[in-house]
Each structure stands twice: as C-alpha cells, then as structure tokens.
C-alpha cells in the first residue's frame, strides 16, 4: 500500500480521489485529456432503468463560487450503458468503476442495480437517493429515513457488490438518514449531493434555469459538505465518501480529517478537466507540508474520540 492508498469497502484505491457522478460522463471525454487510470476511480453518470432525455435547457447557471445544474438525469438507460458505454470505457480505464444509479421506485433501483452488479468492471454501486432535479426522482427516498432504508434493504438483497448510498444535504437531520441506511445494510455512505438553489436573470426577470431550480455545487458548498461528512462519520461505522466543492489537495485532506475514507471531486472537473489529476499529483507535497505520512492514518482525525 502506498502513501496515498485507502481501502473502500474492501477494494483498494491507489489514492482517495474519485471523480464524481455527472461531472465525468462515462470517462472517455477525460481520457482525451489524460490517462484516467491515475484516479482512485470515478463514479459514472447517474443511470436509470429507462433512457432519459432530462430537462429542457438552460440546464446550468453560473454562481460566484460554483454553479447550479438541472440536468434531470439524462442518460441512455442501463441496457445501453452496459452494451455501449462500459465496453468503450474498458478501452481507457482498467480499474473497478463506481456505478451511480438513480430510480423512481424501489423496483427501479433494484432492477438497475442488479443489471450493473453483474458487470465485471463495476466495483461499487453508488445508489443516489438524492437527485434534486427530477420530479419524484430519488430525493424523496433520501429525505425520509424509512423510505431510504427500504431502498437500501431491497437493493442489498439483489446485489453482491458493495452498496454506497448517496445522500442529499437537503434534510434537517442527516445523521438519522445515514444511520437508517447503515441499519438497512449499506456498505458505505457518500455525501453530499447538490443543494437546491436558484438564479434569476435580471434582463429577462425570469429564473435562468428552464427547470427554475437546480442543484448548487462547487467551492461554495465545501464547508456545508465538511460539516455533514463530519456529522455522519462521527456516527456510522461504515466508510463515508466525502464530496462537495473539493478543488485542491488541501480540500481532500480536510474532508478526510472530517471522516471521509475517499473523496469525490465533481464540478471542479468541468472548469478544469485536469482537476483530479492535479489534485492527485499535489497530494504528496501537501501531505509533507502538514506532516502526514499516510493518508489512511488521518481518516476522521478531526473527530474527538
């Protein structure tokens, strides 16, 4: 094990940096810029049972320290992902990939997860119960401990690979949701998804996004994400994958001190396609600066015993 490596639900990652779902496509756009095998891994675009076109445009709006998106889970559907995207990905990525799944009913989640579970390339299933951008999609499951535990229990029964449940920050008590997922058998928790927001165009005096509201991500959400990772990691006994606004090696270390076993980088990839690679390259020097020998040793370091 190297200085940067960590174990996530039994699978070793060369480093804790994971490109976040929805900001890394199915990988190959980034493979045009660099060898994406340097990543710990990445989580591919949220996949559903049926193909989805997503929301009307404009789907993105700029903010001072980030952006809003209301993509609406555009994806080709799980069958096409398995038939087309994964074979294409195989040519540029040889590590286990994280399969991000969304759904509209428990049956939906179970179906998509069980199809992806059979794919050799898939290392983990990241079950997104937190998409803010589709009607009745995901977030209803992520804001109620009982609904969350039902999804998790049903998926766990149908799959063999580790299940990481992705939570919404749009709740008053994140810890109760995380605990419910853990009790239902989740192997890990990832958070945070985006925070609902809105921008209004002063010229048209209308919301910028066609969907009116969208999910806020980027550096502006970082402190909220650190707080939630800390709260959840302080309570659960399963690994936590931290994300939200991470843009540099220092942010990765801060997330890990808050309790994250691995760290996802999302929006930063959109502005700088090299963001993940740069962060990975910078980690050793930043670790030296703060007297950190191995990253695995600092996980949860800020949480009082």
């Amino acid at each position: 094990m190297g200085r940067l490596s960590v174990r996530l639900c039994g699978i070793e990652l060369d480093n804790p940096v994971i490109a976040a779902s929805g900001t890394f496509g199915y990988g190959y756009e980034f493979a045009e810029f660099y060898d994406i095998n340097c990543l710990g891994t990445f989580s591919f675009k949220g996949t559903t049972g049926e193909a989805r076109f997503g929301n009307p445009t404009p789907r993105v709006a700029e903010c001072a320290t980030g952006m809003l998106n209301a993509i609406g889970l555009q994806n080709p559907g799980v069958e096409k992902v398995v038939a087309e995207e994964l074979p294409r990905l195989k040519r540029c990525f040889r590590k286990p990939v994280m399969a991000n799944v969304s759904g509209f009913s428990i049956g939906d989640y179970v179906y998509t997860c069980s199809v992806l579970d059979k794919e050799e390339q898939v290392g983990w299933l990241e079950v997104n119960i937190s998409c803010p951008n589709v009607e009745g999609g995901g977030m209803v499951f992520g804001t109620d401990p009982k609904a969350a535990s039902e999804v998790v229990a049903a998926v766990k029964k149908a799959v063999t690979k580790p299940v990481i449940v992705k939570l919404s920050p749009n709740v008053t008590d994140i810890v109760s949701i995380a605990s419910a997922c853990e009790a239902a058998g989740a192997d890990g928790i990832s958070l945070i998804n985006t925070i609902p927001g809105m921008r209004i165009d002063l010229k048209t005096k209308r919301p910028v996004l066609a969907n009116r509201m969208g999910g806020y991500s980027g550096p502006g959400v970082f402190p909220i994400a650190v707080r939630m990772v800390y709260q959840v990691a302080s309570t659960v006994n399963i690994p936590v994958v931290g994300m939200g606004g991470v843009s540099c090696a220092e942010d990765v270390i801060e997330m890990m001190l808050a309790g994250a076993t691995a760290v996802q980088v999302g929006t930063a990839n959109l502005v700088d396609p090299f963001a993940c690679r740069n962060i990975i390259n910078e980690l050793p020097a930043v670790m030296d600066k703060y007297g950190i020998d191995r990253l695995e040793d600092i996980i949860g370091g800020a949480i009082n015993g």
Partner: protein, 244 residues
C-alpha cells in the same frame, strides 16, 4: 481538445460593444471553422465559450459582444494577460457540402464564426455570398473583412440606418447552392422557415463544461439528443426539431 495558456496580444473595440481579441498560444487543436474555444477568466467560475473568428499558425482571434459580467471583464483585459483556454471544441461546419455558390447568413454576435468559414470557402467555390444582419448602423462590423476575401456582401439593419432595411431573411440572394448560418435563435428559425435549400446552423447553449462531460447543453434532434458542445454547435437543417 486541448487546455493551454494563451496570451492576449490584441483586444480592441470594433463597435461600442463588440470587441476583437487575438490570443497567442498553442493552436495545434484549432481546426474546423465553426469550432469554439472556452476561456477561463479571473472572477468567473465557469468558462466563456466563443467561436473562432480567425486563426493562423501562432494565434486565434475571437470577436465578442459585451453582454454580461464575463464579457465585460474580457473587454478590459490588457495585452500580455495570460488566460487558460480550451481549444478544438465542437464539430464545426462541414465545408464539403457547400456546392459552387454557398450563402453565409450571420446575425450580430453570430457573425464571427462565418469569417473563417468564408476564408475556406472562397478557395473552393466560384462565388460566396454573405448576408450580415444588425440592429442599427453603429452595430455593423466585419463587412469590409468579408469583402476583402472576395465575398459578395449584403448588410441589413432592422432600423434601415445602413444597407437593406429589415432582417437577413429580407435580403437573401437568389441562386445559392447551400447555406451556413449563425445568430440569435429567432433569426435561425426565420432562416429555417424561409429557405428551401439545405444548410447548417450554429447554435448557442449555456454550458457547464464545453467538452461533453456534464450534459448541460443537450438538445433534441431528429437523430436523438446531441450535445451542442460536442456533436454541435453546428447542426444540419435536416436534424433540427426546434424542440429545445
């Protein structure tokens, strides 16, 4: 696609709100006319997409209209400023379809990508016609540049203060074999409705990434969804549904 550092070597006003900026750097990926570049600015979180107006072995030139914060910041950049610029984005125009007498139709800030296109077309076509539409005389730019390439140029202004009074669709010449157009969506739709000839349209959409990663810019076409930043910004007439 490439992300590299460019230096501003020229940045000046052509009209009160249209600026021309020349950037010096690695242009190896600057290819087809109709492709665009995506510029990172200090003070803006997302990049700003701009069409390539012209390119040579050491530099790329854009022409932009000041419409908001980003383009306002851009208009104040001094020579020597270093910028992170992504190049080689989008599909660009297909020049093989032009025929002998192509027509280029540009409106306002949609005129720039047609210049590099015209430069390529005059080398291979017997006649290249250009119709440029603006609101008023003080908005007019690039007329001379197209004329110098040898194109037959018609300018329209909505208020009649210069050239033909009206919209580009009021001044379309006869006898063209194919067309290429870029401009505000209302203009594109009017062009679509007023010509029986086939052609290509360059679209704009708000972008998250500009290189195909976020699905921020998708639009429906006859052959499924396309990302304006990747399978666009140029769409063929036959693919367009106008469904958003």
């Amino acid at each position: 696609m490439k992300d590299s550092i460019f230096q501003v070597i020229e940045n000046r006003a052509l009209t009160p709100n249209i600026f021309k900026m020349r950037l010096c750097g690695d242009v190896s990926e600057v290819g087809q006319p109709g492709q665009f570049i995506n510029i990172k600015l200090d003070g803006c979180y997302l990049r700003r997409p701009l069409s390539v107006y012209d390119a040579d072995p050491i530099s790329v030139t854009v022409i932009y209209k000041v419409v908001g914060r980003g383009t306002e910041i851009m208009s104040r950049l001094k020579n020597g400023t270093m910028l992170s610029v992504m190049t080689g984005l989008g599909n660009g125009f297909d020049i093989m379809a032009a025929g002998e007498r192509p027509l280029l139709i540009g409106g306002g800030a949609g005129v720039p990508p047609l210049y590099l296109l015209a430069k390529k077309l005059v080398e291979r076509c017997s006649k290249v016609s250009v119709v440029l539409g603006f609101n008023t005389i003080t908005d007019v730019f690039c007329e001379e540049e197209f004329k110098r390439l040898g194109c037959e140029v018609t300018v329209t202004t909505a208020d009649g203060s210069y050239g033909v009074k009206g919209f580009v669709t009021d001044a379309l010449p006869e006898g063209y074999t194919y067309f290429y157009t870029c401009g505000p969506e209302a203009m594109l739709k009017a062009v679509f409705d007023s010509t029986g000839t086939s052609g290509q349209f360059s679209f704009e959409e708000r972008m998250g990434c500009g290189f195909g990663a976020c699905m921020g810019c998708s639009c429906k076409t006859v052959s499924g969804y396309k990302r304006i930043c990747k399978e666009g910004p140029v769409l063929k007439k036959e693919e367009i549904t106008w469904e958003g």
